[in-house]
Symmetry: C2
């Protein structure tokens, strides 16, 4: 029950990097995992690195192209479905998967079910900022949203944000196209009023795209369409800019020398924005701790996603969400 | 008729930087302007710099807080309204304003009217990319959109993009949360089909947030809510990262020396992403060339916005839009 259930077949670098991530999580944090996937492949990697983990066989492969409901129904023995079933049977405390996000959402929804009172579960995301991190709900699970959905997600996002940051009070922003209350579309205009009522001391009003990384907000509430666009825009620009910087310093002997002088500073300043430090983020509203990790996850991201899973389970995420929703 | 009509009171640094921008446009490109705003203030600046421009008095001030329709109706003699009236009377060939965007949109809509056949005019934006620039429609004028609106904006955005880039054929992308045709909400799913029919050789399918800066697309089509969020997210992250880089090199004598070695490379690589190179972008669908410049515009951005205005007028933007829409 104390182990984290890890979908060893999920993500671009599975199973190798996932297995190595689980190995790191054990070494660095003492967190044990159950590895779910093609037993022979996983055993082979474990033998090579001289490690031993509990492995549960799952033969069906869900690809990134599979439609979620199809993957759930037709690939009963996928590593995703088998992982959810293990969690349901309390063989572990949480699930981590870097696989097809839609399939993970669907499988968790049907196998684990919703926390009582939750209308629509939400995919959260952690975005590193200048001064820590920001939690985004919804990051892409719900392409349409009513204003009441946004309030529900804000409630659950708040529980998660406080649990991870340890902050007593967080700053909530509604993603919008201007700071003024009357800005935006019908959904955001109504959501503004509802959020002001629901979080009188924590709702700070509208936030704009420029406010993501400044640390001005701890929680960003948006429909999943806009949230996903913003998230991928942030990731894409960061990755492009960092590539340009790397390219400059690698260009010739002069720029190499320059790197010797400022490399440390660059690493320190830009490591703040390394998404691998968090590794993954939970689906909120499902009756179980399920962490969705980035498809590009390598061992470091997997390791930290496992840490996140254990931490959220130990700190009672689900109980806290249940309390928040029933109030 | 050959002069560009410049709202001298619009933007955070008006009137000084706007007047200096007009002065630079004349010196560097030989483009003459009519300056619209508080005559005494503008004259004083002109006297100080020893320049002479045609100045048209406009006494009402529109602030960034004014509601657009209120600004239009109650501040008849604002520099925005007076500028639009001058364009209507053909006293100049185009209008440039860095003022309240909503007020500029409203004023242009009521005074100049729409091009025949246009359902909803759209605010475009130019986003600098690795290999040139991308045109975004809609950048925030229309918070809600039907799929048919997206097709109309794509048509107008295409005319603008080709006019400025000189490209024979452009690549059109639909902003969405995944590459596959079936991704997204009801509007994008339908828009995908409509765009495929309307632009068989130019529509490249869905684009994601990570594709903005890579140069993979020339034109991005989105509803104004999502488009605006993406635009401000891109601007905010670029500005934050550039500030961090500046901070690193300014830190101490060692990092100063490093700057001497790589500063030129940094300037060359990152000047690509300087929005001031374009200065502004037109409202498409209005019967007149109206360029909206960034509120933060300083002289260089104003200068380039004036250049953009003259170029679009000379190249017959409005006629080309009329042809595209009537087909």
């Amino acid at each position: 029950m104390n182990k984290v259930i890890v979908d060893a077949m999920g993500g671009d670098y599975a199973p190798l990097e996932v297995v190595l991530g689980a190995s790191l999580a054990r070494k660095e944090f003492g967190i044990d995992s159950i590895l779910v996937g093609k037993k022979d492949k996983i055993r082979k990697i474990l033998d090579e690195v001289g490690e031993d983990f509990e492995v549960v066989d799952a033969r069906d492969m869900v690809t990134m192209e599979d439609k979620p409901v199809h993957a759930f129904r037709k690939k009963k023995n996928s590593s995703i479905n088998v992982s959810m079933n293990l969690l349901k049977e309390k063989k572990g405390c949480a699930v981590v998967s870097a696989g097809n996000t839609g399939a993970v959402l669907t499988s968790s929804y049907f196998i684990l079910g919703k926390i009582e009172g939750v209308v629509r579960p939400t995919q959260s995301a952690i975005i590193p900022t200048l001064s820590g991190f920001l939690v985004l709900v919804d990051a892409g699970a719900n392409v349409d949203a009513k204003s009441s959905n946004l309030v529900e997600w804000a409630k659950m996002g708040k529980v998660f944000s406080k649990l991870v940051s340890g902050k007593e009070k967080i700053k909530i922003g509604l993603l919008n196209i201007g700071e003024e209350e009357e800005k935006g579309n019908d959904v955001t205009k109504e959501a503004y009023r509802l959020l002001k009522d629901a979080f009188p001391s924590e709702f700070e009003g509208n936030m704009e795209g420029k406010d993501f990384l400044t640390g001005k907000f701890d929680l960003c509430v948006a429909d999943g369409f806009t949230g996903n666009i913003a998230l991928k825009t942030l990731e894409g620009e960061a990755s492009l800019f960092l590539n340009i910087i790397r390219g400059i310093f690698k260009k010739n002997i002069i720029t190499n020398i320059s790197w010797l002088l400022v490399g440390k500073e660059f690493k320190r300043e830009f490591s703040k924005f390394d998404y691998e430090v968090y590794g993954g983020s939970p689906i909120l509203g499902i009756d179980g701790v399920v962490i969705v990790a980035h498809g590009r996850s390598k061992r470091k991201a997997v390791k930290n996603a496992i840490k996140m899973a254990k931490e959220l389970s130990d700190k009672g995420l689900i109980e806290k969400l249940r309390n928040e929703i029933s109030h």
